[in-house]
Amino acid sequence: MSAHPTLASVIRSEWIKFRSVRSSIMGVAITFVLTIGIGALITASIRTHWTSHPEAHIGFDPVTTSLGGTLFAQFAVGVIGALFVTSEYSSGSIRATLAATPRRVEVAAAKLAVLVVSLLLVSEVAVFVTFLMGQAIYSGVVPTASLSNPTVLRAVLFGGLYLTLLGVVGMALGWLLRQSAACISVFTSVILVLPIVTFLLPSSWQNAIGRFEPSTLGQSMESVAPPAHAFSAGAALLVLTLYAAVLMVAAATALTRRDA
């Protein structure tokens, strides 16, 4: 009674579900548009103002700036992850899903696998495209970075990982909250509102708490040199992975304990 053939068929089932609804396709398209489109806007704007704003040259990072679209795309991937789960609850199809696969952990694992593989592919393609496009826009006027530099390669690669992990966070919230609106509110609050609240705290607190916020972790991961008081890129990846893992464990526990 090996578990793998069963899990493989559940993954196949979830893959059919993922690719057969417009929300996933739209979400993927929006992720591309936001990452690449906003990246193009930011880099073009920097190029235009480069010579007239010498003060912006200090600490300039051609990698982070070209990946600026991920600040917006992170909401798209969060929604993709959340909707993959909440759409089952809003339509009631979760009952058919769990009746077909009563071992609920397998359902959670299969959905996670489909999401991670899909988002990894989408996010990495998006960040590498936006990076290369950004350097092409900078070229000749603004200093550029090259993927032959391992730190640069790491920053771009981690940009894709950041988006993928936020998608997982969205999915875990989907299992825990079951409602799209609730998930999107919580997700947006954590990403957007938390940094504002932290900003209002005394600076010693800011430094202690700020580094644990997902958005700060993202900055560390996507830049060549991490911001002040932040984790190193590797540590940031570890912390964010830990968040996603803890939330997914909580999600799977809730799924197996609660009535469908």
């Binding site: 579900k17 009631g92 077909a100």
Partner: protein, 301 residues
């Protein structure tokens, strides 16, 4: 075979199912009747492993649902109409279910054809009518060619032609030796569909038996109208009958057969204008049985 032993399901303070015991046998259509809120859907969800019982258990051929490997091949269920992502096509919905239980996609086309949805297989389920949604639900129940089938209020939303189709389907499934368990809050529907009937109210078993048993158990009455009502009344009372006033000077007599009432009238020299034996309909039996067990009285939906 479905077996339910001492099943209790409590949601916070409400008790949905209260120490229920029942067995659903193969080869017949078993109707599962009760007013709205009587615990039918909860019982079915527990059978399907979707809700966890507070106490007791439900088993499928002796095993809990959770232990079934590729359960769609053993149990098929229609629990809710149109419980499908509205953006997905009927074919993709069925393919996703089939894939999870290693059912070949050729079977998806078979069931689509069977329920009459083959021509709209690629349409978004969101554009389906309620009746088409029910047919899709039936297709998914039949997908794994299971020996046990559960249908929760399957007739809702179906047109008369669809209702006839589904009745015939239940009968033929039962005739093939399958277990067919159908819930409804309408006795009239079950009277023409089911062989065995289980009636519950407020989560408790009220009665079970064949349709004939249930109607036979209910006492009929005789409506009698004659030339001298008072004389008839006195004689009937003397014979131990219970009397109720009927329309048009008629009497509704309980506890005596039509023959006995006729002879009595003859002995008294009363000319009879009407003598009608009335057998209680299954509907009336059901109303009488569940009268004390209606969760939401009239006024609530």
């Amino acid at each position: 075979m479905i077996a339910i032993e001492h099943l209790t399901k409590r949601y916070r303070k409400t008790v949905a199912v209260d120490d229920l015991d029942l067995v659903v046998q193969p080869g017949v259509v078993t109707g599962f009747l009760g007013p709205n809120g009587s615990g039918k859907s909860t019982t079915m969800r527990v059978i399907m492993g979707l809700d966890r019982p507070t106490r007791g258990r439900a088993t499928i051929n002796g095993r809990p649902y959770h232990d079934l490997r590729d359960p769609l091949r053993e149990v098929g269920a229609l629990l809710e109409a149109k419980a499908v992502n509205p953006g997905r096509s009927a074919r993709n919905h069925l393919r996703a279910l089939a894939a999870s239980n290693k059912i070949p996609f050729s079977r998806v086309e078979e069931v689509l054809e069977f329920v009459g949805l083959a021509s709209v297989a690629t349409k978004r389920v969101g554009d389906f009518s309620l009746g088409m949604g029910q047919r899709l639900g039936i297709a998914s129940a039949l997908l794994g060619d299971p020996g046990i089938l559960l249908f929760d209020e399957p007739v809702n939303g179906l047109d008369p032609e669809g209702i006839r189709w589904i009745r015939d389907l239940f009968r033929s499934l039962a005739a093939e030796g399958r277990t067919v368990f159908v819930s409804s809050h309408l006795m009239s529907e079950m009277a023409v569909t089911a062989d065995q009937i289980i009636v519950i109210g407020k989560g408790r078993l009220i009665t079970q038996g064949s349709v004939d048993d249930l109607t036979a158990a209910a006492k009929g009455s005789v409506v009698v109208r004659g030339s001298d009502r008072e004389r008839l009344e006195i004689a009937l009372r003397a014979a131990g009958a219970t009397l109720e006033a009927g329309n048009d000077d008629a009497l509704r007599v309980g506890g005596l057969t039509a023959e006995a009432v006729g002879r009595l009238a003859f002995d008294q020299g009363v000319v009879l204008f009407e003598l009608t034996p009335e057998r209680a309909s299954l509907e009336e039996v059901y109303m009488a049985l569940t009268a004390g067990a209606v969760e939401y009285g009239s006024g609530a939906s």
